[in-house]
């Protein structure tokens, strides 16, 4: 810590994850990393690359191959004063963790009136579009968004990955941290390793606009920003909001934007029905109805499983689909 900070180089989202993990492990001995293949192998996505070498195998633990085990050990450690950061290798493998997350992590503080707590992070590489096998491409954030006591976070840039992960590890309550794997290596940006956390309860406005509000999170931020570009060329000014912290939701930022634009298109990768977009649309129906000049639109995955990779890109929201929805919204005034 006393060493001079090296000049920061541009890094990818996944490198920002590694950087945040290393930073926090340096300053907080309670932080441990655990999961399948997180040790010498550095994780199947290399998120923990070099950490076991740097911090030893008592800080970076390979687990037996069982997600129930990972979740249970994590809750056990967290409730005894450690700050475990667990990894589910892929989104499709986290379902056996649901029991411990819902029944224990989310309730430990509540049920003991604060006597025991559960400061843990569960990192989940999330979403489709990388031509992976079955169960490696799920957008399953909605499984947690109805569960009180949790925080659900999803960064969409290297800087937000770094700042939000630091915040998540420091947070005294359990955080489900989804990492959009399709954009793990999409682009690089300079992320100073300064230990500065970002707030866990705000939406990030990525682009200002006046005609309509595009709300999204995770990997779809890319297509949504591209759609905003395309719309701009046609003279339509789209504001783009990266929700980033899904739960608790910073609805105020969305409402404020929609109050100005009168139109909202929600974009997400998960199936439409009861995806988290529904909650945002519902809040608009409750609190922004008189601001809306056009019906809310949802551009989402279809109500089917993401297909194996020959067809997967046809399942996902595309620039085309977003632009079309935006234009439908613009048809109202």
């Amino acid at each position: 810590m006393a060493e001079p900070t090296p000049a920061p180089a541009a890094i990818t989202l996944i490198e920002a994850i590694t950087q945040a993990l290393a930073y926090e492990m340096r300053i907080d001995p309670a932080v441990v990393v655990l999961g399948e293949d997180v040790g010498i192998n550095g994780g199947v996505f290399r998120a923990t690359a070099g950490l076991q070498q740097a911090f030893g195998s008592e800080r970076v633990l390979d687990t037996p191959l069982d997600e129930t085990t990972i979740a249970g050990l994590t809750v056990g450690m967290a409730s005894q004063g450690m700050k475990p950061v667990a990894e589910a290798q892929f989104d499709g493998f986290m379902y056996p963790m649901v029991d411990f997350i819902v029944c224990h992590a989310a309730r430990m503080r509540y049920r003991t009136r604060g006597r025991l707590t559960c400061p843990m992070v569960l990192r989940i590489p999330w979403g489709g579009g990388i031509r992976a096998p079955e169960h490696h491409s799920e957008a399953n954030e909605s499984i947690f968004t109805n569960v009180p006591g949790l925080r659900v976070v999803m960064p969409s840039s290297p800087a937000r990955a770094y700042g939000l992960l630091l915040a998540a590890i420091r947070e005294p309550d359990p955080v489900i941290f989804f990492e959009p794997k399709r954009i793990y290596r999409q682009y690089k940006e300079i992320v100073p390793d300064d230990g500065e956390a970002l707030p866990l309860d705000v939406c990030y406005v990525l682009r200002d606009g006046s005609d309509l509000t595009l709300v999204t999170w995770g990997a779809q931020v890319k297509e949504t920003l591209e759609a905003a570009d395309a719309l701009a060329k046609e003279g339509i000014s789209a504001e783009v909001i990266d929700v980033a912290t899904l739960k608790p939701l910073d609805f105020a930022t969305i409402a404020e934007s929609v109050a100005r634009t009168g139109r909202c298109v929600i974009v997400h990768e998960a199936a439409k029905t009861a995806g988290f977009g529904a909650e945002i649309a519902a809040r608009l129906a409750e609190e922004s109805m008189f601001d809306l000049v056009a019906p809310v639109e949802r551009v989402t995955g279809y109500d089917t499983h993401i297909p194996l990779f020959r067809l997967e890109m046809k399942f996902l929201p595309s620039v085309d689909k977003i632009v079309a929805a935006a234009k439908r919204a613009m048809a109202h005034s």
Binding site: T63, P64, L73, Y110, R111, T112, P172
Partner: protein, 357 residues
Amino acid sequence: MTIAAHFEIEYLQYLGPDGKLVTDLPTGFEVKSLLPLFKQMLYVRVFDTKAIALQRTGKLGTYAASLGHEATHVGIGASMRPEDVFAPSYREYGAQFMRGVRPREVLMYWGGDERGNDFAGPKNDYPWCVPISTQCLMAAGAALAFKLRKEPRIAVSCCGDGGSSKADFYAALNSAGAYKLPLVLCVINNGWAISVPRAAQTGAETLAQKGLAGGLHCLQVDGNDLIAVLESMRRASERARSGEGGSVIEFMTYRLHDHTTADDARRYRGEDEVKAGWAREPMLRLRSFLAGKKLWDEAQEKAWLEECGKLVDVEINAYLESKVQPVEAMFDFLYADPPPDLLAQRAAAIALEKRNG
């Protein structure tokens, strides 16, 4: 025939149902040390009886009695150190009382109040755990924390015969073996998981041998024999403390009561079996053993039971007099840092409460 591996499961029993020793006492065992534990067992039984009565008269919710399990529970509690962590299922009051949990907390919990889990005593112990055997895996996590921090502490967790079928139990023993954790998994085999008999849970001859799946130390113990319980726990905790890893101990006992007050065991088990259970129960034999050693008599028992009654009544009154938490309690302790929307709901709930008087 080549043999890749070979195992034996030892069975421990010292005191037979008739109160006679069936084998020599463990070396160095002090018979006098049984006395306070016997008294503790009696205390628990008084508590149980009164708690059931409270439930029957509508003053308590569903209650899970520990009738018949007293030797196992108290023996486990007696073997632990304050700094260890206990992860109970939902009926090990005997162990918990010895660790400082107060009877009023038990009552609060079954009386529908979260404050029951805010133990005045063992601050790091886990609360009662409803999702079967998940406590075992949390205890493994606790043990892992102790090991990583190089603390001389162990974790002890209990589950039932039914609970030993649960995936979480297997995950706990698997990780205890993989990480050589200071963990003692106590399987309290009382013959029944609500209406499902032990035989329907598994094809294994003993529940103790499940530990072999994780390379753990395994023991089967007469759980109605306090001496055997103490000796088995001594062995397992010593192993755990000295870095030799985890154990699975199967305590053979019997559930003398219904599963909980919400259950009616007559639907699924015969009276003969229960009768036989009463003949093997832990108090009987220990009382007769201590009486034989002139350490206990009827007068002492009468006096102590009376005292127990008074002690428990104090606790019951504290529970009965406790005020219901205010409505905002359901919002508090959800997050360290509650989000604004939640605070708004909290305010609305308080306002509604005020409006409704």
